[in-house]
Amino acid sequence: MANKLTPKDRLAIERVHMPEQDSSQRAANFSEVNLGLAEAAAIREAQRCLQCKNRKCVEGCPVRVDIPEFIAKVAQGDFAGAAEILQRRNVLPAVCGRVCPQETQCELVCVRGLKGSPVAIGHLERFVADWAMTHQNGQIIAPAAATGFKVAVVGAGPGGLTCAGELARLGHQVTVFEALHDPGGVLRYGIPEFRLPKRIVDYEVGNLVKLGVNIQCNVVVGKTITLEQIRRQFDACFVANGAGLPVFLKISGEDYNGVYSANEFLTRVNLMAAWKEGPGRTPIIRGRNVVVIGGGNVAMDAVRTARRLGAQHAMIFYRRTEAEMPARVEEIKHAKQEGVEFHLLESPLEIFGSDDGWVSGMKFQRMQLGEPDASGRRRPVPIPGSEHTVECDVVVVAVGAQANPLLTGSAPDLEVNKWGYIEVGPDGATSIPGIYAGGDIVRGSATVILAMGDGKTAAEAIDGYLRKLRDKG
């Protein structure tokens, strides 16, 4: 039927809306906000795709998913066929369909977006991945014959997992070393349940295990084993240990009880499931008035989490305006629907505490936008005399992350730049032969899909490197 549609028919279809859990309800639970498309809605949305010859959307995708091809299968109702095409390029599709910023990638350049709304590529990706999750038994792409090469991957975040999956498909024997007790990286400890249920992470990781990837948790490279040991025991290595070092504001009062880094706040709630109740569980302070400093995805995740933990006032304080916020549009929209209060053009000056050592409030200064700075964004400048205080009992600092020096500091031959990020060539090669790197430890805090793209690029480069080794030896 889909084939019979004329372009005009396709253009007449309006973009689908993602069904959501009601905002008043969801502000009090940790269940997923987006509910996913029904089959009929997905087929109809897929029919909006014009099947362009020049495939703009694919260029917009860091892992080059064959977007029009998988969408065509969806339009035909062939979901298994769509899943196969999707998985060929993307080893974590159910994750990407949920957390990728499609609006700045594939959907930004989608031809249909030139006039009206782009095809809801992300929603369709999620639909197909979820369909595969309930209708198929995991991995459908079989690995190539074993090559006998052993590759180590450091860090089980999206970068490491992607590289591991790609290498396993190519027939290499892969071991992933992960510092925490469960794999997933930021998908596990950072992004909350209501945006990315942990069962999705478990499922995607399970698929990699089925492919033959060996994941060893509780191994801190640089402490439990060294990169040098890995070099001796493996033929190649991919380092994707993320940018796990919290940044504080360096203003007075940051050590009062009730002040968290976003990493700590989110790790308690996500990795340690502090939101579930019960004795012996990791605790979390449930604030009544919670101030979250920052304007990125991390800040949105923290403030929406605080709201779900029972905050009456869950507040974002950000130095610039909403237009400059790095957070995804959808996250900002969802946060507002859930009753999060946005305080823009506000810069933190000081944290106050009570005599018993607990945070009691904060001092802010109002800002206005001045001349554009080096990044092209208008620089916030303080408005004199605008200092004012805000009462609060929990503060979460979400102003970015830096390179964690634990691993790099233990491997002096590994070249890093002045901020501590690993230096790599275009294919991810580091200063040490056979060692590649990617994801946040190379780029600084970036995105899931860019980390995955790096993992994929490095897997191809590692495969080439190993083939050369074999030809030589």
Binding site: A179, H181, C217, V220, R286
Partner: protein
């Protein structure tokens, strides 16, 4: 899973566990710790590696049952298992030949002190160990420490074993010269004890090291929850410590942060709906 090979009771609620953890055992140096989680629900609990046998692939942990998570750990029988053991974490003890070293342990802090003391003795230092406890049953590791120490002083608050009083009384005698005068001091115990020792040695300019025990989660410098002020600078105890120069530590700040999850009248920590 990490198999528990032995579980021995040292004192009331204080157990010594021998755990199979070959990678940790091989990499471990004195002063380092592991983070342990009993099961899926449990908290991540930092524990000093009291001893290790790289050949056998085992480590020893001395655990005091305080809350539900530590109770679950000490309740693991020989043949049982711990879900997660990660390490070795933290910086190893800075070892050098000081000469006479006073090692001061308070309560379960004596367990943290033990591996340090052993390493200091192996480095050729002459050890004077002060073990302090509430009462006789809580005095631990006296015989083990005596094996490599010049002298072990036991002092209890109720006088039920050794001298009556606090560890600081013995240290005062050492500083005044009534007992041998130390060239360096290592102290591990409750925060007020470590703070008191720091004040005692400060006027004498005797190098003094303490091992800090702030609340931790990841133990890799990722969360910043373990932050402490050292000489006015923020440090993460899990990666920059846990041992620090006692004369630089902000003990007041540390004591305050340790209270963060203790029950308060207005019930801030959320066990659920009654939380605010």
């Amino acid at each position: 899973m990490f198999e528990v090979l032995e579980n021995q009771t040292l004192a009331p609620s204080l157990h010594r566990l021998t755990v199979r953890a070959p990678l940790v055992a091989a990499a471990r140096q004195p002063g380092q710790f592991v983070i342990v989680r009993k099961d899926e629900q449990g908290e991540r609990i930092p524990l000093t590696i009291a001893d290790a046998d790289a050949g056998a692939g085992t480590i020893r942990l001395i655990v005091q049952a305080i809350g539900p998570s530590t109770q679950d750990i000490v309740a693991t029988p020989a043949g049982g298992a711990l879900r997660d053991v990660v390490g070795p974490l933290g910086k190893p003890t800075h070892l050098q030949k000081w000469g006479k070293v006073a090692c001061v342990g308070g309560g379960v802090g004596t367990a943290v002190l033990y591996p340090l003391a052993k390493a200091l003795a192996q480095r050729g230092n002459e050890l004077y160990v002060i073990i302090g406890a509430r009462s006789a049953p809580y005095v631990i590791l006296a015989d083990e420490l005596a094996e490599f120490s010049k002298q072990v002083y036991v002092i209890t608050e109720d006088g039920s074993l050794g001298r009556k009083g606090l560890v600081t009384a013995v240290l005062a005698d050492m500083l005044s010269g009534t007992l041998p005068r130390p060239d360096a001091v290592f102290a591990v115990g409750p925060v007020p004890m470590m703070a008191a020792v720091a004040e005692q040695t400060r006027p004498h300019n005797i190098p003094t090291m303490v091992s800090l025990n702030p609340i931790m989660i990841d133990g890799t410098g990722m969360c910043g929850g373990c932050r402490v002020k050292i000489g006015g600078q923020t440090k993460f105890a899990c990666v920059d410590g846990p041992e620090f120069d006692a004369h630089q530590v902000d003990f007041k700040g540390l004591a305050n942060r340790l209270k963060m999850y203790q029950p308060r009248q207005d019930c801030r920590i959320g066990l659920g709906k009654e939380g605010r």
